[in-house]
Symmetry: C2
Subunit: 278 residues, 2 copies
Amino acid sequence: MKIIVAKMAGFCFGVKRAIDIAFHIANEKRKGVYTLGPIIHNPQVVEMLTNKGISPIEDLETKRDIKALIIRTHGIPIGLSKKISSSGYEIIDATCPFVKKAQHYAKLLKEEDYQVVILGEKNHPEVKGLMSYANDNVIIVDGKTPLPKLKTRVGIVVQTTQSIETLKKVLTEAIELANEIKVYNTICNSTALRLKETEKMARKVDVMLVVGGKNSANTTQLTRLCNSLSVPTYHIETSSEIKKKWFKGAKYLGITAGASTPEWIIKDIAERIRDIGG
Amino acid sequence: MKIIVAKMAGFCFGVKRAIDIAFHIANEKRKGVYTLGPIIHNPQVVEMLTNKGISPIEDLETKRDIKALIIRTHGIPIGLSKKISSSGYEIIDATCPFVKKAQHYAKLLKEEDYQVVILGEKNHPEVKGLMSYANDNVIIVDGKTPLPKLKTRVGIVVQTTQSIETLKKVLTEAIELANEIKVYNTICNSTALRLKETEKMARKVDVMLVVGGKNSANTTQLTRLCNSLSVPTYHIETSSEIKKKWFKGAKYLGITAGASTPEWIIKDIAERIRDIGG
């Protein structure tokens, strides 16, 4: 069986940067450094980092020895950021620079008195962060339900992992409702490219393996895509989940992975399959 | 035969306003007042106005006794406006207020350092006016050919008579090419409503009469629309062009008219048809 690994599989720019920051600090063996929430949606990486002394906490009240907090790629609401600083903790900001940009634009749109519309998932941490930079009356839209009534001047900013198709849909709806629209296309290309490559791969192979955290939105999105193309697809986190029977009769196996999946997990999986005679 | 006249037929807000201004001045019997180009694209109205002492001139050099110039609904380039003023002539500005708004936005986009894109017909006087308020490197797009390469920050303004569908098309293309778009929807609703009503009417009647200047873009647009719906359609300027044979066997006749067609011409046509036993 021939194994093909997607070129765009694994860490995107922002995740790679955040992981580098976290492991750099771990290697310095500093005490009292935590990540606010899991650094990325990958349990294996979180465990590795915990073993090196940097564990995730869910809120500021959990630990007493906090000295510094690493902010993960999705970013945090501005209020929380102020609370951390006023608690006397150092902020080590690993927010993805593309998310930072989106936050900056959300703030700008608010300052320019636009009615701010965020295209994204309302419960996603990135969107919660963006909301705090816009204003209280910000509107969150997902492109699935029609837009509500809008004001005359509308400013649009986009969760970095949204698709350009959804943005186009929202734009064409909004231009019928508002007289003036200022829109920042803050979509990060890496998500779109990864989906595109995965789709192409899934159409050619007999079996697909999608590697990444079960709690990773962009990994489950890859799984959904492959399933929709009717190729047998398995979403796994590590090589231990692999079953030999999946590959019976298969000539080509495709492996793709979410933005929060480290390369060593992907390599480990490919090796494991070769070991079991896949 | 039943005659149905479109409710939206005839003068739009901007044209009605310009004609009111011109006839008001004509009634004052002021000397040396001209319109720069025909006040509207309707030869009959232009003739009436000429008979009352206000005739159109094509450029500033044509006449020696110019005292004041009436600017028509489409507006004029800012350079020409300055030239008129510096020549010592009074400007009587009958530019449509909606066009004025579009000019203002074009200027604003230029001042905010956007690459200005105008959606419109490049030879239309309104677009030539808008261009002058934007800048020299302004891009004119018509929604028919793909957009050229764009800069990072793009500002879009729209010729008032464009369709919302074309704007949507241009917007969805542009958002793939630029990171930031500021768009002013300067489309005037009356064009869209007139087209919509005409389409509905043309689907129900046996014959359509489209009334208006042969040189009027929005009138010929109505004719094109009716022709595309396969209803026998006649574009006329006045009642003298009517032929009895057009209505043979017809039970319903629909009459629509462009934005530059005065009500009295439409009424005259309806009466003429009744006279000839239509």
